[in-house]
Symmetry: D2
Subunit: 342 residues, 4 copies
């Protein structure tokens, strides 16, 4: 951490800042420039309060040099984390290793038949996991909110029939409690990325967690949100990039593809990409999936539906089963160039 004094800071101001730091048991490195004095802080920064420093007279700004997340940080955990999902009542899947996991299924669970047919397509295509929404966070209170526990039951049944591990979103602590017995992995959605009560709860839920990036979250905030889960005792966290909010309107969100190499550099956690929500347009899903695979993502989350035109939610961004199968086929040689497989 570095404290930059402003150009009109007095000797006394500098002394005061030094005192704040040393009285917290830390050391100071003073650097007097012609225009500015800079005070470096050496030692365990959690012992000093940034805001106190920032508010001290004569301080222009505080610059954070080291990240506030530790457990999610590659600096202290250089090897890739590989997460195992399922394996007891279903096939075992690993995320973050050689396997490239595609999570396929309908945006919202509507019926057993719908989920079953989607799961069969997923299985046949070689994709590893089943997804489906039972609790749907919707902008308007008047939109379809999901089948809730009924939906979870359907997902669970189809998962056990097909052997595909299953993931679904939970939107509250109560939903989480209901969902645990039915799922192999839980998802925290973009609107809840900073619902810290929920993050702490999934940190104790015993299942692997997929944490979607908030709509306008920085990568730093995202890794700090992961840190809430990790520091609550759950090491099995997968990140999911799903597009960020920008001024551009030709896609629903802007897929931040750079997040893949950035996360790979800063963290040891696996990262997958959701091109369905990122683009909102069916025609863009295949090219964006290939981009994600080519730049090192560990998997994809893709919506597929027997009849997208009849889907109750997010139809336009769902692939038909044919499209889904073709995409998996097209990805295979691309993945093998990187030593990976479906």
């Amino acid at each position: 951490m570095i404290v930059v004094m402003n150009s009109s800071a007095t000797e006394e101001n500098v002394k005061n800042v030094e005192n704040i730091i040393t009285s917290a048991g830390l050391h100071v490195h003073l650097s007097k420039g012609e225009e500015t004095t800079i005070i470096g802080i050496v030692g365990d920064k959690t012992r000093v309060n940034t805001e106190t420093l920032q508010a001290a007279d004569g301080v222009e700004k505080i610059i954070q040099v080291t990240e506030s997340y530790k457990l999610a940080n590659r600096k202290f955990h250089p090897a890739n984390t590989v997460i195992k999902v399922g394996g007891k009542d279903t096939d075992a899947v690993t995320i973050g290793g050689d396997q490239f996991v595609i999570m396929g299924g309908p945006c919202a669970v509507e019926s057993y038949e719908e989920v079953k047919s989607a799961a069969e397509c997923v299985k046949k295509s070689g994709a590893g996991m089943l997804r489906g929404g039972a609790y749907k966070p919707r902008t308007s209170p008047y939109s379809f909110q999901g089948l809730e526990e009924e939906g979870l039951k359907i997902l669970h049944r189809v998962s056990r029939e097909t052997g595909l591990p299953v993931i679904s979103e939970v939107t509250s602590e109560e939903a989480l409690k209901t969902a645990i017995p039915y799922l192999d992995m839980v998802q925290v959605g973009t609107r809840n990325m900073q619902n810290f009560a929920l993050l702490k709860a999934v940190g104790k839920c015993g299942l692997p967690v997929m944490l979607k990036r908030g709509m306008a979250a920085t990568i730093d905030e995202w890794l700090n949100a992961a840190e809430y889960i990790l520091s609550s005792g759950n090491e099995n966290v997968v990140l999911c990039e799903r597009g960020i909010r920008t001024y551009e309107t030709s896609t629903r969100n802007t897929l931040d593809i750079s997040a893949v190499p950035v996360i790979k550099t800063k963290s040891h956690l696996p990262i997958i990409v959701d091109p369905s929500h990122a683009s909102g347009v069916r025609a863009y899903i295949a090219p964006l999936s290939k981009a994600a695979a080519a730049c090192g993502a560990d998997g994809l989350m893709i919506e597929t539906h027997p009849d997208p035109a009849k889907a109750l939610s997010d139809g336009p961004q769902s692939l038909t089963f044919d499209m889904f199968e073709n995409l998996c086929k097209d990805l295979t040689p691309l993945l093998s160039l990187q030593g990976r497989r479906l």
Copy 2:
């Protein structure tokens, strides 16, 4: 709602879309242009599924013409909503009418003495309400998370001693349950604007609610979030603009001052402004407060602290008591130009 067909849509595609609409009991207005066919939908749009239409063959896009929020919409409720806060164990305050309410107090509750001195400054300055954070949503799990119930007790005690109605943020349903007996108004923070479980819960809590705008929420999403509260039975919702996320870094967020006249046009709900969180810089709070008052906001939420340099949270954006008093003084003649008073 308007369905725009793409230029290669066939007669059959158009017929299919017409069928989807009419089979939902709605009427169709067809408009064939040289490049595009446009299908207008007449009737109650909640009966038709937008996504189904969007996914139909030949459809280029769906354009929403009317807003999905109804209870928050000025079209169906032309008069301003005026909300009463406190009045039993405290002074009565009204938001949305002639009174311009300033909610003052520390970012985070630290001690009785701190809150008491802040409340005395608020009272003396003529500002109407006391604020203070007991549950603090913090980016990092290692930052100070608030005194929780202990903090609520301090706020309650000071509120009853000074007569100032008190507002505080709740970050979960559990926190809400704990908080209700201590507060006169509850706040839903920016990170929880789309925590729909929490919105529904505050919709049933019996207290007026202040709903902060999400960090990257559109005004439309914000009004839909308010609709969750209103449609759960709570009519007493105040909106709070607190800055949105943009690329600009000289302020912590970008205060979207236009949100004030936009909300006044689209909705009957009161809107206040939080210049402390919007700017993150003490020196900008007074000018932004005046801007808010001049363009028609119904109040302000401002952080004040006996010694900002010692505050445990958000020190740099807190006003000293002198600054707070001077600001209230400066606002008075500005407000009277608009027929308002503190």
Copy 3:
């Protein structure tokens, strides 16, 4: 300037960075933390190349502590700059002092009658300057591009008839050459904020310049753009905030009202606000104008048109003459609270 080394930087990496700095004649302050080594640079930073440092092995990042603009910087020029416009063939106007200058007139010049009637409204309302577009930068090549020199002649004639100094946008060096004899002030528009050839040219044109903020320019980039003009020899630069690009769509752009106090802190140059382009909606112009006046802006640029419904360009954001007069009337007591006048 501070060089932050990454956690795996070797002694040799640090030595190398020190050498780069000292061989440029600068001094080094070394600060070794537990995780990171930080190297402060003391002396004239223009002598060292940031990119060279950034690219050196072991460097994590370079942090700029001081601003790159000098002439525009309040640190080296504490007093407000007050700029005189007109005064020979027209009334004299000052920007940045007690006078609050409103520049009114049509978006695009269409005819003598149109400009004359607008100018009469401007004059009668007490607003100080006439504006009008002769060169119109339009997104599509098929939109009306302005009357060019013909438009300048109309503006000039009306200016001299009414005594109002006149400002108009120039979109190229050629347009600038044509425009100089007709104008009292030239405007560089938002799309040309980083057209450095044009900035250098207006820096030598002999007239005061109004520099609009780029659509997605940071305040730092904006002040650096002003620095191009100042360092080419022209001290008379007025900044104009006109809204930035964000994800919000209920206004055309997002008026960054905080830019007013930020600029007042960082620079001595005057700043005015353009609520017409910022909002794109007539109903929001009056409240935003009051916000600008209340938070310390030095003036406004507002579009007004005899019959906005017939305007060839930007009709929806133009005020009628009645609205313009009423706004000027409403602003007067607000300005006098701040010791200013129209």
Copy 4:
């Protein structure tokens, strides 16, 4: 084009809008809903003024259904445009066909030796074109601005010696005039994407043009900027995505990878990607280049430098020659999966 009336629009308001439309020789399709009346316009929309309609009483909004760009639009030109560069004094390269063109070279031209060694690396790696900056648009007037004509001479000489066609940025009409004899292709940079005078000039310059996306330009604005060049008579336009401005700071800009499939859908023009400027970080260039190739881009622009740590401009985002060669090697099998070659 669709006119949406607001809910309080009168019969007379609707009639008035109909008159505006029919008096321009167009036809009207009226659609009266319960809440809103919608007026569809049939015919050549360039004959009616959007702003006039928008400003008419009772109008809520105008919705554009068809794009304003025609020559750049795939609807009217379904086949991919393939552009030939060089071929007289250099090798011939094609952009938009089977060949995947990588433009490599230093950010800024510094010396003959530097450019020559970079060109040899480019040639040896199988990349098709040489790039280098002679006119550098820099945020600060005190940064290195480029060697200008001297730099162009170096580029030209190296191009002819190696047979690589050469591209360089022009920042003004004057620079363009100077540059034409030295170059095989000209580049319009991000800061000049809406410098319409320059766009018209390159539209008449006789060389193929690469048009970079503006820092905060929508895809629609970008295609309209291309339309300025096309409608000035130059059909040889290549688009270049180079990252857009967002709130995220871990990369310099946010590479909008979706722009590749979006442009491929909306336009017939080739699109290449610049991962160097998009990310600003050397380590992210290879993964982003693969992403671009995998999702259908027609080429890349990548900075390479003999000794990035000594480069005068943009060192940290330049690849070393080894990295450049390895990247080209890695891309080859990925491209062949798509039937393309370097």
